[in-house]
C-alpha cells in the first residue's frame, strides 16, 4: 500500500482467549487460527472479495465439468524443520489427517473421490460431482498443510509435535509461556523473497478486556484483533493518537448473529408470533448503542459479504406497531418466553436485556436465562430454550456456512451448529441441495436468491446483525489486514514504519 516496506521490528498482538493448542489441524477455534495463520499455510489465499490467489500453489485449474481441480505447487518450499514440502504432504493433510480430525473438512471431503499426486509438485483432486464452494476451502484454518513426515502413522492428537507446531509459514514457533504469551520468530528460509518483514511476533494473553485496552494504551501491544476490547471501549481507543481501525478482514467468516427460535415450542411455531418478534427488535439501536455503529443490520440468512447475497429480501425492519398487530392476530397467549443470552461478555448481556425490553414492549413476557459457555452449549444442543442468541461464520459460501442452519437433514438435536431451530421445509432442503452442486456461479446466484426470499418470509430465526469486529492497530503498522481473513491470515505482509 503506502510506501516501501521496511524490514525489522517486533509485533505485539493481543490474543483472546488463550488458545487450547496451536496445531490448527486439531483445534480450530479463533485464537488457534490466529496464531496458526502465521505458522501454517494452505494452497490459496483470498482477498476481501473472496477472489483466490496463489500461496503454496503457484497456479491451479478447474476442469470444465467442475469435477477436477489441478494445483501446481511452488518449488523450493520447506517446512520449518528443513524438510521439503511436496504433493505428498498435501495428500496426507487433506486425505488422511484432516479427514480424521477436522469436522468441517470431513464434510467437504465427502465430495472428493480421490487425490492424485502425479509428481512432487502437482496435486489433482477428483470430485464425485461438481461442488461450487470447493475452490473456497484452501485457507489455513480449513486446509492447513501438515508435515507428513512428522505425523504419518502416529496418534495425531497425542503427537508431541503438537506443542511445537511446524508448518511452512512465514513465522516459526519459538516459545509458549502458558498464561502469558506466545512467541513466534521470523522464518529465515521463507520462500518469498524479503518476507516476512518483522522479526518476531508476540501474542499476549490478557484475559480481561479492560486490561487489554490498558495494554494498548500503555503501548505494550500494538494490534487489537476484533473482539479483544469491549465494544464500549472502542470509540475511546479509536480516538487515540496514531490509531487506525478497520472492520475489514472478516469477509470470509461473515459473522452473522441471530436468535434461534425453538420451533418445537408453542406458540413459537406460529409464523405470526415470529414475525411479530422480528418486527419488535430495534436492531438499529443495538447496532448504535452496543456495536458503536459497526456492522450492518441483517436482512436475512446471508451476510452481505458472503457470495450470492441478495439485498432484496422481504422487509423485516423495526416496526413495533406492526409487531403488536401481528402479535394480536397470533396464537400468543402471554406465555413466558425464555431467552438464552450468549455468555461472551458485556455486549451480549446488554443485548439480551435490550431484546427482552423490545419484546416486553410489544406485550410479550420474557425471562432471561443466564449460563456460562458450557451451559450455553448444552442448552442449545438440548434445545432447552425458547429464544437463544448465537452468531455463526459463513465461510464465504452459503453451501459451506448457511445451509447447515436451515436444512432438515441437519435438524437433529445434539449440536449447537445444526439446524437448532428445527426448521423443517422440504422445499428449502431441495433448493439448498441443488444449489450446492451447480457448476455455474450464475445459476447458483439465482438459486440462492430464491432460497433467501423463501426463508425470510418464514422467519425461522430472528436475524440480528452482521457483526463488525474492528481490528485496532497503530497506524505505523502497515498491512495488518489485507485478505478476507484479516489477522487470521498471518503477518506475512506486515511491516512497521519506523518513526521519522
Amino acid at each position: 500500500q503506502d510506501g516501501t516496506p521496511q524490514p525489522g521490528g517486533t509485533l505485539n498482538v493481543v490474543i483472546q482467549p488463550e488458545p487450547p493448542g496451536l496445531m490448527v489441524g486439531l483445534v480450530q477455534n479463533g485464537p488457534t487460527q490466529m496464531v496458526a495463520g502465521d505458522i501454517y499455510e494452505s494452497l490459496l489465499r483470498y482477498d476481501s472479495n473472496l477472489t483466490p490467489s496463489g500461496q503454496l500453489a503457484e497456479s491451479w485449474e478447474i476442469s470444465e465439468d467442475g469435477k477436477t481441480y489441478t494445483f501446481k505447487l511452488r518449488k523450493g518450499v520447506v517446512f520449518h524443520d528443513g524438510t521439503p514440502f511436496t504433493s505428498a504432504d498435501v495428500k496426507f493433510s487433506m486425505d488422511t489427517f484432516l479427514r480424521e480430525t477436522h469436522s468441517r473438512m470431513r464434510t467437504y471431503m465427502q465430495h472428493v473421490e480421490s487425490i492424485d499426486t502425479p509428481d512432487d509438485h502437482t496435486v489433482v483432486f477428483n470430485l464425485k460431482q461438481p461442488f461450487g464452494p470447493f475452490i473456497g476451502i484452501f485457507e489455513p484454518g480449513t486446509a492447513p498443510m501438515i508435515p507428513k513426515h512428522i505425523y504419518e502413522g502416529t496418534d495425531f492428537a497425542a503427537n508431541p509435535a503438537n506443542n511445537t507446531p511446524i508448518g511452512t509459514g512465514p513465522f516459526k514457533f519459538d516459545e509458549w509461556v502458558k498464561g502469558s504469551y506466545i512467541h513466534l520468530v521470523k522464518n529465515p528460509d521463507y520462500y518469498m523473497e524479503g518476507k516476512p518483514y518483522v522479526d518476531e511476533v508476540y501474542y499476549h494473553v490478557i484475559p480481561d478486556a479492560a486490561s487489554r485496552a490498558v495494554a494498548y494504551e500503555t503501548g505494550k501491544v500494538d494490534v487489537l484483533p476484533g473482539g479483544s476490547v469491549e465494544n464500549f471501549d472502542v470509540p475511546r481507543i479509536r480516538d487515540m493518537e496514531n490509531t487506525c481501525i478497520t472492520d475489514k478482514g472478516w469477509e470470509y467468516f461473515g459473522p452473522l448473529s441471530w436468535l434461534w427460535i425453538n420451533l418445537n415450542n408453542k406458540p413459537l411455531d406460529d409464523v405470526k408470533v415470529r414475525q411479530a418478534m422480528m418486527h419488535a427488535l430495534d436492531r438499529e439501536f443495538a447496532k448504535d448503542a452496543l456495536w458503536n455503529g459497526l456492522g450492518k443490520v441483517a436482512t436475512g440468512p446471508l451476510s452481505s459479504s458472503t457470495r450470492f447475497y441478495s439485498d432484496s429480501t422481504p422487509d423485516i425492519s423495526y416496526d413495533p406497531e406492526k409487531a403488536k398487530k401481528l402479535l394480536a392476530e397470533s396464537s400468543y397467549n402471554g406465555e413466558t418466553i425464555r431467552l438464552l443470552g450468549l455468555p461472551y461478555g458485556e455486549t451480549w448481556q446488554r443485548w439480551a436485556e435490550a431484546v427482552k425490553q423490545n419484546l416486553t414492549e410489544i406485550g410479550m413476557k420474557v425471562e432471561l436465562v443466564p449460563s456460562d459457555v458450557a451451559g450455553w452449549n448444552q442448552k442449545v444442543s438440548d434445545r432447552d430454550f425458547d429464544l437463544a442468541f448465537t452468531y455463526l461464520y459463513q465461510y464465504g459460501d452459503p453451501a459451506l456456512g448457511v445451509s447447515r442452519t436451515y436444512m432438515s437433514t441437519n435438524a437433529k438435536a445434539g449440536s449447537p451448529w445444526n439446524n437448532v431451530a428445527n426448521y423443517q421445509n422440504p422445499e428449502v432442503d431441495k433448493m439448498f441441495d441443488e444449489a450446492a452442486l451447480m457448476a455455474n456461479p450464475d445459476d447458483r446466484a439465482a438459486a440462492y436468491k430464491a432460497i433467501q426470499d423463501k426463508i425470510v418470509s418464514d422467519v425461522p430465526n430472528l436475524w440480528l446483525l452482521e457483526l463488525g469486529f474492528p481490528t485496532i492497530y497503530r497506524c505505523n503498522i502497515k498491512n495488518p489486514v489485507n485478505t478476507a481473513f484479516g489477522v487470521n491470515d498471518g503477518f506475512r505482509d506486515v511491516w512497521i514504519e519506523k518513526a521519522k
Binding site: 479492560a210 471501549d233 448481556q349 446488554r350 439480551a352 456460562d372
Partner: protein, 279 residues
C-alpha cells in the same frame, strides 16, 4: 431491652448507621411506588451523565436506562442478598463452630472435616459451579453465597469456643447444672461475640459484592435489578462513564458503613466493660 437501647443510643455512630440503614430499607420498600416504570426500560439516550437532564438526576446507563430507578429497585435485592445470605451463613456456621469447639474430640473432628469439605473448593469456584448446576434465580444466588460463606464463620467460632470453653466461669456454669446448650448459648457465645459481629458485618458487604461478581460473569439472576448487577454491568465502561459503577458502589459502601457502625454499636452495647462511662 430498654436499657440495651439506651446504651446503644449512646454510641452516636451506631445511631447514624441505623438511620442510613433505615433509609436504605425504606427506599427498597418504596421503590415500586417511587419509580413505577420498570428499571429496565430504556428511557433516554445511553450514557447520559448525572445532572444533565431533568427527571434523570443520575443519568442513564449503557442502554439508556434510568440509573436512579435502578438504584432504588436494586436496594431491595442487594439488601436481601446481603442480609439473608449472611444470616443463613451465620445460622449454619455459628452452631457448627460452637458445637465443634465445645465438644472437641470426635464431634469436633466430624464437624470440622465436614466444614473442610466445603472449604476445600475455592469459594468463588464453588459458587460458579453451583450456579452452573442450578438455574441462577435469586434464591439460588443467595443459597450459593451462603454455602460458600459459612465455613469461615464456623472456623472462627470454633477457634473462639475452643479457647473459651476452658475458662473457669464455664466450669462454674457446668456445676450450676446448666445444660450444654445453655452453656454454649449463654456463657460462651456472648463472649465470642465481638469477632462474630465484625465478621458478619464484613460478610454482608462480601455477599453484595459476590453477587456482583457473579452477575458480572453472567451467573446472577439477570431478571432482577441489583446494585451488584449495576456495578458489574458498568465495569466495562468504567473509563468512559465512571459514575455508572461509582453510584452503586457508593450505595454499597454506605450500606456496609451503616451495618458496620451498627455492628460496632452492638458490640459496645453488649460489652459490659464499655458501658456506663462516667461523663
Amino acid at each position: 431491652m430498654k436499657e440495651f437501647w439506651t446504651r446503644f443510643r449512646y454510641n452516636r455512630g451506631a445511631v447514624i448507621g441505623l438511620v442510613i440503614l433505615a433509609v436504605v430499607i425504606a427506599t427498597a420498600i418504596a421503590a415500586p411506588f417511587l419509580f413505577p416504570t420498570s428499571p429496565w426500560k430504556m428511557v433516554q439516550r445511553p450514557f447520559l451523565p448525572p445532572l444533565t437532564q431533568d427527571g434523570l438526576p443520575l443519568g442513564t446507563d449503557a442502554l439508556g436506562r434510568d440509573v436512579l430507578a435502578g438504584l432504588a429497585h436494586g436496594a431491595y435485592v442487594s439488601l436481601l442478598v446481603g442480609l439473608v445470605s449472611t444470616v443463613v451463613a451465620l445460622a449454619i456456621g455459628v452452631p457448627v463452630g460452637a458445637l465443634a469447639g465445645y465438644f472437641v474430640g470426635r464431634v469436633d473432628d466430624a464437624l470440622m472435616r465436614f466444614t473442610e469439605f466445603f472449604q476445600t473448593i475455592p469459594s468463588f469456584a464453588l459458587a460458579i459451579v453451583l450456579l452452573a448446576i442450578f438455574q441462577p434465580s435469586l434464591i439460588f444466588v443467595i443459597i450459593a453465597i451462603a454455602i460458600v460463606s459459612w465455613p469461615p464463620v464456623a472456623r472462627l467460632v470454633r477457634g473462639e469456643v475452643l479457647s473459651l470453653r476452658t475458662r473457669e466461669f464455664v466450669e462454674a456454669a457446668t456445676l450450676q447444672g446448666l445444660g450444654n446448650t445453655q452453656i454454649i448459648l449463654r456463657q460462651i457465645l456472648p463472649n465470642a461475640l465481638p469477632p462474630i459481629i465484625v465478621l458478619a458485618s464484613l460478610m454482608v458487604a462480601q455477599a453484595i459484592l459476590l453477587e456482583s461478581s457473579l452477575s458480572f460473569l453472567g451467573l446472577g439472576d439477570p431478571n432482577i435489578m441489583s446494585w451488584g448487577y449495576m456495578i458489574g454491568a458498568a465495569r466495562t465502561v468504567i473509563r468512559t462513564a465512571w459514575w455508572l459503577s461509582f453510584l452503586p458502589g457508593m450505595a454499597i459502601l454506605l450500606t456496609v458503613l451503616a451495618l458496620n457502625l451498627i455492628g460496632e454499636g452492638l458490640n459496645d452495647a453488649l460489652n459490659p466493660r464499655l458501658t456506663r462511662k462516667s461523663e
